[in-house]
Symmetry: C2
Subunit: 424 residues, 2 copies
């Protein structure tokens, strides 16, 4: 592997750059799919193997590996005994048939940033104000075990531990049962964080479209997430007179169509989606009696989100009447436009500027573990471009040059965080 | 259990009536659900236990039980060595959370009709022209193993044996694997049929609305059945710009909504349904890349069905363009208005008239094993009313009086079929 001039980032020496890309190639082999993606759902065999591999890599660089009570994986570098930690990382679990970069890139970048800072400190003999920790959060994706961002939610106290451990996958295996045999179910609460940093691919195409290399994340979009149950009545899908039917799948389909129409009323500002939908009894000749679906609204503007929620509420009784079904709609999550600490954005801006990378502010639509962390400690979130905004897809791709630029900026950010600049 | 005068049918003596109702109560306990229905999918533990019970009942009445190579269960009464059989029955497997009557009623009525005729022949010493067989067809419902009417399709040569045995349920268990350990996978082709009779609940409410006790089935509705695959592209359901999405679930939902609109254009003549719909990857934060669904059109008028099929074909490219997905539509089954042999209808009419039951002609919208059988041999199909047309539902119910009237007419029909009246 060689790096041409264009690929070579500002301050990252070629040996470190190549080491990062080589490790990234290795880690992408865990759960690799034939179409160039990965399948590493939380606590699956591929996720477990990859965690063992990361443990080896971290230990090789002198970090002490520790697991907390929800299976978050930490690589600790204690340089100032007793001081709290700069917690840097992301997640290595994936959606089924996902891309190689989502989460995994951020964990490896955190590891390599800390490896480099550790080497520098060893050379200078300096003692930083804070200790350093790589983190690989458990179950960020939430595809096997709902909800997403589980590990960071428990770590930050936003989700009770016992509730998380009791969550079952579709086969009835609980988080506890999945984690226990792996040895990843630790005992403590993990290291105490003083501040946090995460880098991630954008999963959109604003950076690419603008020719920007580094996104300085200022806030997350507001969101309302619903669990919707449509109750109809089972009947023979051939023989039953149409007027007598109470078709739960028809009601659900009308809601899916409406959700898209809702997004189209507020172009660019509102995103809506139904990604998960389950039909019961889901038999060829039975009118469905029940459909359960997850409906998300994500919005760059809280006033628009309120209006969209009101329009949704107004539509529900219309669907109920038209289809003769009952809709029960339960809000499972809700959050407003949620800013990252502005001092963190400024710190990241000055690092990117000094290194000479094109950078700009950006909001995140997707959820990230750092959204939980920023509720507790000052948190810096960085994005690098993802080609054509492709994500949660095996074709997800980030140019090496951008991946290395992100590593370079993250290293600069963590170096300053370690000095205590943004300490909680 | 006592029978009042209203319940007591024309020629069925109270002892036989009570024996039938008692056996029906016993058989309804296999796979019983707490809401008064049953769950006996093909080759499930409940289906297997119930088949063992039926075998005992048949043997107790002197019938020899035999299984063919697709697990159809026959109870043979050979009265005229070497002669072919009147094959009478239905199926005992059910949809998940189904009713007690669908199929099971027809098998038990066949058994009790043959028990009675055997007793009569024993008394008179008469030898009938044909032998008698009760049949419990394997996997009529097709909910666990697709397609439906599997056992009668293989028996009649309409589906290749090896294709049927290789069909897998959602857990990857094949028909062969499910049947082999039960001992129900026999070696031969089953008895040779000369003619056939089946009785079933209507699964609609025409008989009830008209106050008719016995439906003389003249034909089955025409049908077109499709397997539809909607191909979109996986992407992040939060972050991806709406205009970039290729949401397979949105495409599928538009098709479900369209199918209902199509039925509404031809009220009473066209029934449409999507009962089964599977989403991939079906994850909360991923735009679906693929949806597979089964779409049925059933129609009392072949010209209307052709028009509906044309309208459906015209809609597909519109959905593809609007949603930016690809629809692939494969016709899995197609049949026209398919008459039962008119001589059989006349035979049943004269039996019902002689016994004094209100009767009328009716078409079947639902599929039945007799639809396969009538392609091969003269076949009589009878309906009894189902209250409010409720079917494929735990609340399915037929009055005892109607169930017994059906048994009475079926007995009369089988008696005349045994004499060789409709012989192929």
């Amino acid at each position: 592997m060689t790096l041409d001039e264009k690929t070579q980032p500002a301050t990252l020496d070629p040996v470190r750059a190549q080491a990062f890309l080589a490790d990234f190639a290795t880690m992408s082999a865990f759960g690799a799919t034939i179409h160039g993606g990965v399948d590493r759902q939380a606590a699956s065999p591929a996720d477990i193997e990859q965690r063992r591999w990361l443990q080896g890599l971290l230990e090789q660089h002198g970090l002490r590996v520790q697991y907390d009570r929800i299976g978050n994986q930490f690589g600790l570098l204690e340089l100032n005994p007793g001081a709290p930690y700069v917690v840097v990382g992301s997640h290595m679990d994936s959606q089924p048939t996902a891309g190689r970069y989502d989460g995994a890139y951020g964990v490896l970048a955190a590891a390599h940033a800390i490896f480099r800072i550790a080497d520098e400190l060893r050379e200078t003999g300096e003692q930083p104000a804070l200790n350093l920790a790589v983190v690989n959060w458990f179950n960020e994706e939430g595809s096997r075990f709902v909800p997403s961002m589980m590990g960071s939610s428990v770590y930050t106290g936003l989700m009770p531990l016992e509730e998380a451990l009791a969550v079952e996958d579709p086969a009835g295996i609980s988080v506890r049962e999945a984690l226990e045999p792996t040895g990843f179910l630790g005992e403590g609460d993990g290291p105490v964080a003083a501040c946090c940093a995460e880098i991630h691919i954008e999963q959109g195409r604003l950076l690419e479209d603008a020719g920007t290399t580094i996104g300085l994340v200022t806030a997350s979009w507001a969101a309302s997430k619903y669990v919707v149950t449509v109750e109809g009545e089972q009947s023979h899908s051939g023989a039953t007179v149409m007027a007598d039917r109470r078709d739960a799948l028809l009601g659900a389909s009308q809601l899916v169509v409406f959700a898209r129409e809702l997004a189209d009323r507020f172009p660019g500002v509102l995103h809506t989606a139904v990604g998960k939908l389950d039909v019961y009894p889901n038999s060829p000749v039975v009118v469905a009696s029940r459909v359960r679906l997850l409906l998300d609204l994500r919005c760059a503007d809280e006033a628009v989100l309120a209006e969209a929620n009101a329009l949704l509420q107004a539509e529900l009784p219309r669907i109920e009447e038209r289809v003769n079904v009952a809709l029960s709609v339960e809000k499972s999550h809700e959050w407003g436009i949620n800013p990252y600490q502005p001092e963190g954005v400024e710190l990241a801006r000055s690092v990117a500027a000094r290194l000479g990378y094109a950078h700009d502010e950006i909001k995140t639509v997707a959820g990230h573990d750092s959204i939980n962390m920023k509720e507790r400690v000052p948190t810096v979130m960085l994005f690098v471009p993802s080609v054509q905004g492709v994500s949660h897809n095996e074709g997800e791709y980030t140019e090496d040059r951008d991946a290395l630029a992100g590593l370079d900026v993250l290293t600069g950010v963590v170096r300053r965080l370690a000095s205590g600049e943004l300490r909680a």
